[in-house]
């Protein structure tokens, strides 16, 4: 999974969000109230992340985390050169571009390590920024990044950690698929053969009873959410494997108290919910209606007073958590961003 540097973060008591009084509590949640709650929560998260941005524009020695942060700002409607955070975005972009290896050509992982996780997420962030920022370097690097994804696809249609064709897993693959989709949405051509092979690979990971495996047919929360989202973004929202997988994902829908949240058994909790809420939104209907209120409440209730979110102790994410909590905070903001419908990559 994501390579996250730093110390595990201890969780602290979570402050309760202010309630709106018994009268409001008794009323159905209207759209406006949902937006107000979500916006306020994301705004606190963004203020927190802005306070942690370094002078050089970066947050972390991993471009995946830097890109998640940039995406979180754009997901709230902050675009390059406009609004409250023009400097945060500009400096973030420059840091990402300046610290990308570009070796092989187009590779966006930072010097001294990295993986195609980092490349996929960074390509996604650049693709979302492209069009709102006329920077020619941004466009050139984005095109090179897309070409790298195309030429590093394995013969089976997937991607693996290294920037070369060979092995594949669904987790790395879905990151590339989201990036390709965002680029394609910006009219950057993506070869149809790449798309077709990616579809074939994702489908090969589908478990007959529902769910998707990490490498080959299997089940697992994060990979199942990622598998569904991959097919939805690749133009296969009606794939027969999806409804069964959506039913399977229901088993991950737990009550929203802190204790129940922490005993969910998800080793990559934020990662899972980042994909899960997207695939539920894309799927829509009863699944979405059942999913999003509980997930929203869970994320809103777990935000720290300083605007950040903590990773859950003992999970795989905690083992790699960064001390500034940028990964978890950006991921949580991106989960909540689904309500705002601003990021083009999120659209149905």
């Amino acid at each position: 999974m994501l390579v996250l540097a730093g110390q595990p973060i201890s969780t602290t008591a979570q402050p309760k969000l202010p309630t709106t009084g018994p009268l409001d509590a008794a009323s159905p949640q209207t759209e406006l109230k949902v937006v107000q709650q979500v916006n306020a929560s994301i705004d606190r998260g963004l203020v927190y992340m802005a306070s942690k941005q370094k002078k050089d524009g970066g947050w972390h020695a991993n471009n995946a985390i830097n890109s998640l942060a940039v995406l979180a700002y754009m997901g709230r409607g902050h675009t390059p050169g406009r609004g409250r955070y023009p400097d945060v975005l500009e400096k973030g972009k420059k840091f990402i571009l300046a610290n990308a290896q570009d070796n092989p050509k187009g590779y966006m992982a930072q010097f001294g390590g990295g993986s195609m996780y980092e490349h996929g997420l960074t390509t996604l962030a650049l693709a979302e920024m492209y069009g709102m920022d006329p920077d020619p370097e941004l466009e050139a690097r984005l095109r090179a990044a897309i070409e790298l994804i195309e030429r590093t696809q394995s013969t089976l249609g997937g991607w693996r950690y290294g920037p070369s064709p060979g092995d594949q897993d669904l987790s790395v693959t879905v990151m590339q698929i989201v990036a390709l989709r965002a680029a394609n949405n910006a009219e950057i051509p993506v070869k149809q053969t790449v798309i077709d092979k990616a579809i074939a690979y994702v489908k090969s990971c589908n478990y007959p009873a529902g769910g998707y495996g990490y490498q080959g047919a299997g089940q697992g929360g994060p990979t199942s959410a990622a598998g569904v989202l991959s097919l939805q973004l690749l133009g296969k929202p009606d794939d027969p494997g999806i409804p069964k997988t959506m039913e399977y994902l229901k088993t991950f829908l737990r009550p929203t108290t802190k204790e129940q949240w922490e005993s969910s058994g998800l080793s990559y909790f934020f990662y899972f919910h980042y994909y899960a809420i997207q695939c539920h939104y894309q799927f829509g209907g009863a699944h979405w209606n059942e999913w999003h209120p509980k997930i929203r409440d869970a994320f809103l209730s777990r935000q720290n007073a300083d605007g950040s979110w903590d990773v859950i102790p003992g999970t795989g994410e905690a083992a790699h958590a960064d001390p500034n909590k940028i990964y978890s905070t950006a991921m949580a903001c991106l989960v909540l961003d689904i309500y705002l419908h601003f990021l083009p990559a999120y659209q149905r």
Partner: protein, 796 residues
Amino acid sequence: MTNWLLRQANVGEVFLEHRGELTYHVQNPLVLYIGLPVVALLGLGVFVLQRRNLKSSPVSLIAALTACRVFILALLVLVLSGPFVKLETARENRPVFAIVFDRSQSMDLNAGPFPDHEARGIAQATGLHVSDGPLDPEVRKAINQQTRGRLAHAAVTAKKDELIAAHAKRFDLKAYTFARDVTPIGVDAANFTLPEPTPPGGPSSRLGDAIQHVLKEAAGRPIAGIVVFTDGESTGGLTLGEVAQNCVAANAKVFAVPTGAAAKARDVSIIDVSTSGQVTLGDTARVGVVFESQGYDGKPVRVIVRDGEKVLDTKEIALRSAEQQQVELTFTANESGPRYLVVEIPPFADEDHKSNNTDVALLRVSDEKIKVLYVEGLPRWDFRFLKNAMRRDAGLTGREGKLIDIVVETEWRRQPETARAKALPQTIEELSAYHTVILGDVSPKLLTPAFLQLLEQAVREKGVGLVVQVGPQAMPYEFDKTLLDLLPVQIDRKAAGIYAPAAKPFTLELTPDGVIHEAMQLYDDSGRNQAAWAQMLPYQWCVGAVRPNPAATVLVANPNVTNNYGKLPLIAWQPAGKGRVMLVGTDSTWLWRQNVADRFFYKFWGQSIRFVARTEDAGKKKSWIEVKPVRVQPGEEALVELRAYNQGGAPVEQPSLPVEITGPGTRTSLVLDADPNTKGRYLGRYRVPAVGDFRFQYASGSAEARLRVLAAPEEMRYPNVNRAALQTLATSTGGKVVELTEADWQQKIVSELKGEPKITKRPPSEATIWDNWMVLAMLVIVYALDVGMRRLGGLS
């Protein structure tokens, strides 16, 4: 007489109105004190001297002559002393005490059911005599079944002495009713009688507007308090948050009196219905339904959409009261024209409010797909959302393929030269095959002068519609007259748009023309529509427009940027020859997606694309008439546009033309005025009187349009008394919610009314009373008298 004299002295009306309070003064009293005795002595001397010199003249003549001279001298002394009148007025300034009654449709709902202990309080509040024992069933029934409007009336009437009459001298009582508009009630506080309430019927509740009206009428005077009797629903106008801020600024407390039970009704209510807006015959149409329920958790209901009696789709849903629920219904559009779809959730037998289980939505079904060419510069977010939404819109297509035609400059410039040259249509036939062309933030490298000339010809001569969405890179600043002349606004080419301060982004404001324009209808209900536009997210950049062209119609303005011509036009359109051109002056319409995705964003774009689209009539020179919007509520205005051609196909050139209107119980004529900028175009507005179908005909049916007028369902969407909203409104202004069930509820208001009458003296006003024609006339007359008497007396 004094009045007449003062009027002749030109002292001004205000002095005349306060004649009893006038005092008379002189500027130089010393002149008077010295001058008059001197004149008296002089008069005596003159008399003695004349008696000595004019011995043959009678004494009476000498006395008369002396009197003339003394009078003239005395008058001169008086003038020199500077006489003037002084007005000093004092005013009793009483604080305004306003009582506001909600008279919207929802006030016709039952006030109850109240639990026993509350029913007793309501009975006492409304002046009913109740004994200590159990409440009489008939009394309880009467209390529960009286309407909210009647409850407010009875409560105020029962407590009028304590609430109003006792404070008649202390406060200036103002009373109003409101629904959509505010109506003053003429009342005498000392002898207070509340007129019988008119039947509720207002199609919307603008509580915020009503309170704002009180603030405005107070005109800066102190406000003791504003008491509102309402169910707390506000379906349009100023939001309660906005008006609460204004109340705080005016130091005015709001006391909210909920006029209904606190218990939530057992109810299923359709909150919102949305449709695809427009589809083409054979397409799948979607109807989104949002509803909420109370008291029926887990019970299944069917959501039905039908066209007339024909059921188009139905879905079964299990009710949950915790959140609003959504469902999407689909069907194949098989009949063209405007379709009024009825969405229904059959009510439970024991539902308290059954009128909100039905709503109506408009879907337009066209016979032909609209061909669209979309040219964009950078793949900005508006482009990414719009092109996908257009691709999903089955009513749109390209010139030849199934999908709309898209050219993006960033990809175009990477193509070989030969492909670049063929990217855009090369001939007028190719270009005019499109119904609508959309230009984004494209540079002149792609939009060459040759193409722009072709575009101008296609718009003006072939009626091709054009939408130009501006951007900071090039559009429209880098273009010359050919394109700029097509646009409905004049552009400042010196700057590439206007950036808002980061902390104070621009807002948008729907103009009166925009309120009724078909492109701007996000909701079918006008109140909701205006509220939706008012709540759009602010944006950071807009076009550097100077002013709209004379022929342009501004639909949305930027109120944050003004110049000599008023607010900056943001979205506007104008006819250009046979075509229509719309300018979208911001590149951030994607912000309209917040929380609702494409719903508002694409409703605007889809309607705009179709509004400007080339019509077959554009080439035929045949009269046509349009009425917009196609659905309005009683009392609202509709815009009537007529294009009139004679039999030879030439535009009719008259100062005005009549249109015949027939509707339920209505047969009338509307005179349309000629548009001075477009030959053959006539415009007028018609305020629809009642519910029903209306027909507009020109020249005995040579052109015809229809308009459907529907009652507003918005009043019944939230039937419960919204105490939460009233609590927020009242407490944020320093006031409070007062329940009619509380003992001495009126005292809880009266005890918090603030302010006492104040006597304020105005600065004195002065007016001179000597510099006028009367003084001059007296001088001349007396002098002439003097001369005449001398002549008659044989004196030199």
